[in-house]
């Protein structure tokens, strides 16, 4: 292989790692079959005991989430219900390793098939349990990764994470994986860089790699220039992170003493589990597309999801965006196939076209509103009639709930400012309760550069004067008319863009939870 190779995935834990690649998927298990079924049974019993013993040693050293995961694995291993199908298979003549693999794979399939993210993520734990026993069954000792290595493979077992010495650096790069896995959780809490969803399989796994888990990429066979640039980004990241940590618990204030509200963007109700509400000013954007995964969600499912976040936020505001499907977020059975989906039936356009689906969401929002300080906003508003139509549907559903005697409350209704028509003529939308600038879409529509196309990435910049001028105009209009204006795109959490946003007049940003500390640190550096 010649020349650098760059792969793009999703960041599961921000940070940088430079080191040799270590192949997680190399199989070292070679079990030697026994003479009789009784011997096979004994071998499996011994292996389960050995694996349990190893976990018990690890649990001594673990705390918090790590200890919980190990305790769960030990409990699973100690349960006869897990091993009995394997022992039954051994009685029919299967060797211990095949019997165990078959029994555990059946169990794993059950988890993989679940429609709940949390439950599906447990499949990695069961695979881990399976592999630990297989490892104990074979005599081969496991090949240890060299210190500082980047572990590369399909997925990673929690025990592998615990066994690895992270004190010399290193990171994790996965072809599949999930940002909701136990390992992703652990990596975030320990500051181990991790990228998931790299997809492509590499034929050749030698040499040094550069893992940029701040932006979710990895470079293989890097050039000298790339290594130098990478080291610079890496040390700037560590410096920022060290400093940022001290800002997390404090309100965001600029050098000049200007207060800035910093809220968080969330995509799933469980995202709030990892956030201390005291560190942010509320939820500036709660996406609701996650609810529209495989099937259209019922009112009760939505209501519970919204209520959870509202209860977590207490008195602080939670801004929920009505479903923004379409564009790059297709939903089977809801969105339509289009030649140019970013300019088609997406966001509010789709909701208005499918009122029977939209009304379910409206009722769930109206009911949840009593559980906290809810605000609701509509995505992709291009003309004020869309806002009026959506607001009228809220009023109609409110009347329905009132007739039925169901507890509810009308939240303030606002709009996303992300279609240029709204950013250019904000006065047409003065009846909206608030504006939230969606800088990702606004930028891509103003610059005519798709945000998922690397070939035009240089054009897709929120700091282009054309985009900044629109943001400044919308913010100034809001101030004049006393309409609150915030911004909830990726730019809000980007330390390089924050100075321009504050200069444009914004004082309310909403960022990804992982960027909260960095954003506050960046704000403290600005003299606006």
């Amino acid at each position: 292989m010649s020349g650098p190779l760059r792969l793009q995935g999703i960041s599961a834990s921000a940070g940088y790692a430079e080191g040799p690649l270590f192949d997680l998927d190399q199989t070292v298990v070679s079990y030697v079959g026994k003479e009789t079924a009784d011997d096979e049974k004994a071998a499996l019993e011994t292996a389960i005991a050995t694996a349990t013993g190893r976990l018990t040693v690890l649990i001594e050293m673990a705390v918090g989430d790590a200890a919980d995961i190990l305790e769960f694995q030990i409990a699973m291993l100690g349960d006869n219900a897990l091993s009995s199908p394997a022992f039954a298979a051994i009685r029919t003549g299967l060797p211990a390793d095949k019997a165990w693999r078959q029994a555990l794979d059946a169990e794993i399939a059950g988890y993989d098939a679940s429609d709940q993210d949390y439950f599906r993520a447990r499949a990695a734990d069961i695979r881990d349990i399976r592999d630990q026993v297989l490892r104990a069954l074979s005599e081969d000792s496991d090949v240890q990764a060299p210190p500082g290595a980047i572990l590369y493979g399909e997925d990673i077992a929690p025990t592998r994470f615990f066994e690895t010495d992270w004190s010399c650096g290193g990171g994790i790069a996965l072809k599949a994986g999930s940002t909701a896995s136990h390992v992703a959780m652990l990596a975030r809490s320990r500051g181990v860089p991790m990228v998931v969803g790299l997809g492509a399989s590499l034929a050749h796994l030698a040499g040094t790699a550069l893992l940029d888990a701040e932006h979710g990429g990895i470079v293989l066979s890097p050039s000298k220039v790339e290594i130098a640039a990478f080291r610079q980004s890496s040390s700037s990241f560590s410096a920022r992170r060290d400093r940022a940590g001290t800002f997390l618990a404090r309100p965001a204030v600029t050098k000049a003493g200007t207060m800035v509200r910093v809220q968080v963007n969330i995509a799933d109700p469980s995202d709030v589990d990892g956030i201390d509400i005291a560190t942010c000013d509320g939820v500036g954007l709660m996406r609701t597309e996650f609810l529209f995964g495989k099937t259209l969600p019922d009112e009760e499912t939505q209501y519970r999801a919204y209520r959870k976040v509202l209860e977590w936020a207490g008195e602080k505001p939670v801004t929920i965006r009505t479903v923004d499907a379409g564009g790059d977020k297709p939903v089977p059975g809801f969105t339509v196939a289009e030649g140019n989906p970013f300019l088609g039936l997406r966001g509010i356009r789709l909701s208005l076209a499918r009122p029977e689906v939209f009304r379910v969401q409206i009722r769930a929002l109206l009911r949840a509103a009593v559980s906290g300080s809810l605000k609701v906003m509509f995505p992709m508003i291009a003309v004020v009639e869309e806002y009026r139509q959506a607001a009228a549907m809220f009023a109609e559903e409110q009347a329905v709930l009132a007739t039925r005697g169901i507890v509810h409350k009308m939240p303030p209704l606002g709009i996303m400012v992300e279609v240029p028509s709204a950013a250019i003529v904000p006065e047409a939308f003065a009846e909206a309760a608030f504006f939230s600038i969606g800088s990702n879409d606004l930028t891509q529509y103003v610059m005519a550069a798709a945000r998922d196309n690397a070939a035009v990435a240089h054009l897709n910049s929120v700091r282009h004067p054309a985009v900044l001028r629109l943001i400044a105009a919308v913010t100034a209009f809001g101030q004049r008319e006393e309409i609150p204006v915030s911004l909830c795109g990726d730019a809000g959490g980007d330390p390089a863009s924050i100075p321009s946003l504050l200069e444009a007049g914004l004082r309310d940003l909403s960022v990804a939870p992982a960027q909260l500390a960095m954003a506050k640190a960046a704000i403290a550096d600005i003299s606006v």
Binding site: D65, D68, I69, E71, F72, A75, M76, D79, N80, A81, L82, E107, G110, S114, Q116, Y118, F119, R122, D125, M185, L186, R188, S189, P269, S270, D273, G274, D276, E300, R304, K308
Partner: protein, 100 residues
């Protein structure tokens, strides 16, 4: 004398009866001599409450009405204790704040 008891309780824990809560649940169930089972509906299917594999397989998310029944020695105590554990949110209140 062989006793039997049955009760229902709503799961309020955010991730439902999964991983950590199910470890606590099965551990407590095992402290009773009675046979204990859970179900997600009154007419079953019933799962052995002492087996973490079975309890996990029930896939009970937040909001589930959990049916618990027991028969044999200490059946009443077993059902009461397990209902109480679910009601206490598996003792994972405000003191269990994740920092990850």
């Amino acid at each position: 004398m062989s006793a039997s008891a049955e009760a229902t309780v709503v799961i309020t824990h955010d991730v439902g009866l999964h991983a950590r809560p199910s470890v606590k649940f099965t551990k407590l169930a095992k402290t009773f001599a009675a046979e204990v089972e859970i179900a997600l509906a009154a007419n079953g299917p019933w799962f052995d409450a002492k087996s973490i594999v079975k309890v996990m397989a029930a896939k009970a998310p937040k909001g589930t009405v959990l049916h618990i029944r027991a028969s044999g020695d200490g059946a009443n105590d077993a059902v009461d204790a397990l209902v109480e554990l679910v009601r206490r949110d598996f003792d994972e209140g405000a003191d269990h704040v994740r920092t990850a």
